[in-house]
């Protein structure tokens, strides 16, 4: 029962985050690139203000799977780097904390771009 409640929280919070994005798309006709950038910057702001930790405690993947998690990781890495390694850490910390995700995206993009043909026209 406990695990059911956890997943319900993840579902509700994750759904709500996407719902707000959909409202933005419907009302302002923003392109997906702008939506993604906006959400990532929101993640950075939430992480710096300290609110992201509480949200993560409450909803887990409901806030880390949306692109806000990417922004929060960048900001968190930069702050931790500044704390442990000084100025060099502040410069390297952000990218190194998202290096795994970025590498996966780029490798997958290259491999699938080579082997797959676009089917988006068939919708």
């Amino acid at each position: 029962m406990d695990i059911f409640l956890d997943y319900l929280k993840v579902f509700a919070v994750g759904g709500l985050v996407c719902l707000i994005g959909q409202i933005l798309i419907n009302k302002t006709q923003m392109t997906s690139a702008r939506i993604l950038v906006l959400y990532m910057l929101v993640g950075v702001v939430l992480e710096v203000s300290g609110a992201f930790e509480y949200m993560k405690e409450f909803a887990g993947s409901g806030v880390t799977i949306p692109i806000m998690g990417f922004g929060s990781n960048l900001a968190k890495g930069a702050l931790e780097g500044a704390k442990t390694n000084g100025f060099l850490g502040a410069v390297t910390g952000g990218l190194s904390s998202v290096a795994a995700g970025l590498t996966t995206v780029i490798v997958c993009g290259f491999v699938f771009g080579l082997i797959a043909k676009s089917r988006s026209k068939k919708i």
Binding site: L19, G60, I65, F87, G101, V105, C108, F112
Partner: protein
């Protein structure tokens, strides 16, 4: 000849408008489900590798979600989902993967260099640039504030 104002009215009358309620419900359900799949993957990793730290679990989780998003994009399924779900499929990290793989597949007939490698970043480029600049500013200010 139409006046500019008349033409704009004509366009706004005939532009396809996504029905508000249906798209909102679809975005909520699909977005929530994608987050639940991510949470499920994290829980499975925790069951298999019991001594792994929470941070590593989160990294593996997002890498697997990115891979799944790329795979479903390559199979052509993710774009169909996006057709119904809109924001529900754009905002999760799988949507970020989709925004990289989709143009890479689209432009692969233009060659590896200027097709796949360059066009891959048409949507992801701004995200990475804004993210890196923001993280640099945060680190820079954080360093001097400490």
């Amino acid at each position: 000849m139409l006046e500019r104002k008349e033409y704009q009215d004509y366009v706004s009358q005939n532009a396809p408008r996504s029905p508000m309620t249906r798209t909102l419900i679809a975005a909520f359900i699909v977005g929530g489900l994608i987050c639940c799949i991510g949470e499920g993957i994290g829980d499975i990793i925790k069951l298999i590798f019991k001594e792994m730290s929470d941070k590593d679990v989160a990294i593996w989780e997002s890498c697997i979600m990115i891979f799944l998003g790329s795979l479903f994009t390559a199979l052509g399924l993710y774009d169909k989902l996006g057709h119904y779900a809109g924001g529900g499929s754009i905002i999760p990290i799988t949507g970020f993967a989709n925004s990289v793989i989709s143009p890479a597949m689209e432009y692969n007939r233009e060659g590896v260099f200027y097709g796949i490698c360059a066009k891959m970043f048409t949507v992801a480029g701004p995200i990475i640039v804004f993210g890196v600049v923001a993280s640099f500013l945060v680190g820079f200010i954080g360093y001097f504030a400490m």
